[in-house]
């Protein structure tokens, strides 16, 4: 006994089981990310004046990552189309390319994460505030590179919006608040400090949650596609039609993962 329509389409619905399964699964994923996007909106509109930091992410890097994912969206289609055209070699090539794109994406993302986790934000006992990258830490002091100093008004993790202009200006003129030499801070001078993890403020909280969950999807998808590229591809010999279906289904999932990123990129990096 076989469950019907695992390979062939059911005539009146025009679908095979796994395809309907993935569409349904994606519908629930839409609700999952939809709820997170809604949370993002709610947190953002209820944030106090100036309490939602912007422009803290590296847009060029984000853009590169976006392009990587878009590229993988193309290759994943090519892989499926190659199977449809009965060209297994080409499939291997494109499927492999997709997996590589996924890996590049995850690598770039982890570089970005590391950059944030090593970015420290310190409020000094004298009411000033310094943020920069941690380069050295001992039991007596810490050293921050590219430190930026300004009066601490709001809680930790926030940067006044006006600061960006100051920062840009400073960069342009090579002076101002922006110091290029490292800054050594005694621990005894520190009132409060945090790095830019999810605990720093609600912006980072939602940033890490959204991108983290998305990255898990990327990794999961990549594992599945790597499996179909490697050991899973043996099915091509036995049951090419079912194998093609599997590639189509995993491709649908991959498109969804890309699509989520297309939304994430602007709301987190640009707006």
């Amino acid at each position: 006994m076989e469950v019907p329509y695992t390979v062939k389409n059911r005539p009146d619905t025009g679908l095979y089981n796994a395809k309907i399964g993935i569409w349904l699964f994606l519908a629930s994923e839409v609700m999952l990310f939809g709820a997170l996007f809604s949370s993002y909106i709610l947190l953002r509109v209820t944030a106090q004046e100036g309490e939602w930091p912007t422009e803290l992410l590296n847009v060029p890097i984000g853009t590169v990552n976006t392009l990587v994912l878009i590229l993988s969206s193309v290759t994943v289609v090519m892989a499926w189309a190659s199977l449809k055209l009965n060209n297994f070699k080409k499939f291997k090539f494109y499927q492999g390319l997709t997996v590589i794109c996924a890996m590049i994406f995850v690598m770039i993302k982890s570089y970005e994460y590391r950059d944030k986790f090593t970015h420290h934000d310190v409020i000094l006992t004298n009411g000033m505030r310094v943020d920069g990258h941690l380069v050295e830490e001992t039991s007596e002091y810490i050293v921050l590179s590219h430190p930026l100093e300004y009066p601490a008004e709001k809680g930790i993790g926030y940067r006044p919006t006006a600061l960006h202009e100051a920062e840009e200006e400073a960069n342009a003129h090579g002076g101002g608040h922006h110091h290029t030499e490292d800054r050594k801070i005694m621990l005894s001078d520190i009132e409060k400090r945090t790095n830019w993890g999810p605990w720093a403020n609600t912006y980072f909280a939602i940033y890490f949650t959204l991108t983290g969950l998305h990255a898990l999807h990327v990794i999961g998808g990549a594992l599945v596609m790597a499996y179909f590229w490697g050991p899973g591809s043996r099915m091509w010999k036995k049951n090419p039609e079912q194998f093609t279906n599997r590639i189509e289904v995993s491709g649908l999932f991959w498109h969804f993962v890309d699509l989520v990123w297309i939304f994430l990129f602007p709301i987190l990096y640009l707006l």
């Binding site: 089981n17 629930s28 709820a35 993790g157 999810p198 605990w199 403020n201 949650t209």
Partner: protein
Amino acid sequence: MDSTEAKEHHGAEHDAGHGHDHHDPGFMRKYIFSTDHKIIGIQYGLTSLLFMLAGFFLIAVMRWSIAFPGEPLPVIGSLLNTFMAGMTSPVLDPETNELIGYAISNDLYNSFGAMHGTIMVFLAVVPLAFAAFGNYVVPLQIGAIDMAFPRLNMASYHLFLLGGLVMLGSFFIPGGPAQAGWTSYSPLATSIPTDGQLYWLIAMVIIITSSLLGAVNFIATIIQLRAPGMTWMRLPFFCWAQFVTAFLLLLAFPPLEVGALLQLMDRVAGTSFYLPTGLAISSMQDVSGGGSPLLYQHLFWFLGHPEVYVLILPAMGVVSEIIANNTRKPIWGYKSLVYSTLVLGFLSFIVWAHHMYLTGMGTKISTFFQTTTMIISIPSVIILTCLFISLWGGSIRFNTPMLFALAFLPMFGIGGLTGLPLGFNYSDIHLHDTYYVIGHFHYVVAPGTIFALIAGIYFWYPKLTGRYMSEFWGKVHFWCSFVFMNLTFQPMFAQGMAGMERRMADGGAGYSVANNPDAIGALADQFLKLNVNITFAAYALGLSQIPFIINLFYSISKGRSVESDNPWQSTTLEWQTPTPPPHGNFTTPPKVFAGPYEYSVPGAAQDYNPQNQKS
């Protein structure tokens, strides 16, 4: 085919993904790691019945505290003290100072309250109504050999079990289980010290994942695997109900998953999603603030409301099957039933904030939500009306399943009607978070859903076992349950009207006149006294289940055997197979020629025309 040969044959190409037609597969594969929808249905059924018993046990302990606050818990007091050390309060004799027993502390009460709600909703009723009945009955009713994804089906049961065990595990950790109600509102849930809250969140994420897999599977099965001729309008109403339920689970659960995830982040990653600026809780000094407590409530109730229809729709499905069968006539207004259910499904996504009227809602938003709430009551009215009118002109057989199904109607009616004063925000001002709410929803879930599910068990039992359950003990079970259900929940409306609040370990004694003699608005004695009546009624209700439990197990081997494969002379496909159905369900692939409820067709020889017979 020779069985050993079959095994070897399949062992060789195992990863092909459809090696589930082994013969004689051994105990583990047959009962624990089975991919057969019928076995999985039974697994779900037994597990969820056990959870239901656990849920009852918790409320039994709580009801003692409500009726006799501070008094030592009889019988199991010291046992509870051993299990939940540190959470019971020792009671000393005022004169001799001797230990006379253990009372329920507030912590313990809150733990049990949160767990009663969670277990009953997520681990007892949903798995029983949706997963157990759905798994066993839906593929049979649509004429399929199994679910669309059998191995996914097995995975969802195992995930469910895992989630349930994690939830139960939290009883055994220091500090005990979650204490913030089944709603688990932040910041309370975040600031409660017990790790039980963490267990709750993790268990919820697992259970949700299990439900999502189940929902995908059900929808795919119903869309793809209907037998030839089983058109949408020939689908038994039970399948329609499960179909809509599956969509509710599929689309409403992910937001709760997000809600739980963000709360998890608040607890373990130090984020402030639900923690606003200006919080002064000594245990939580270091949070960044800037979050929103209401965000959690929106995410919770976005699930919460569709969830209540998840509890009721399968029940309505079961009741319609039984009513059609035992009135010996078609369901009146089948199409209205189907369309109402679809409308109900859609609307249930846009009424959630009626649980949040008193969180400071403006006129516009509250007008929207109370309007949708009133609109959604209309399809419920239509469904109930169809079922009521279906009785007209019938030739009603009053067997046990029918008695439970019949009792469902007015009981759900009372529960539904009392939803109306809660649905208008202006009356909710007085009734919110009182026992009126407790009465409202217990009428829909306990004498409503639970009665329907019990009816379903009595009804489909002969299909599973080839034997009937005892009619006599069934009727004893019914009448006792019916009386004590009403005695338990009916007085709660009076208490709620009088302003008695829910979630009070002392049953409102702190607000009583005795405690606040000069205060206006204190709770009058007569309402406090009802607590004692309710508690004993609830205990009697529990005892009334004993005949059922014995009947259920005794009849497996000793019950009266069925005379045929179709003992209730039913029309739907699950009765047109051998009893119990073999692996693969049907001996010949069924074809469908008729609607689901062709009873008493004028001119026909017998009073039922099975769906797979040409009339």
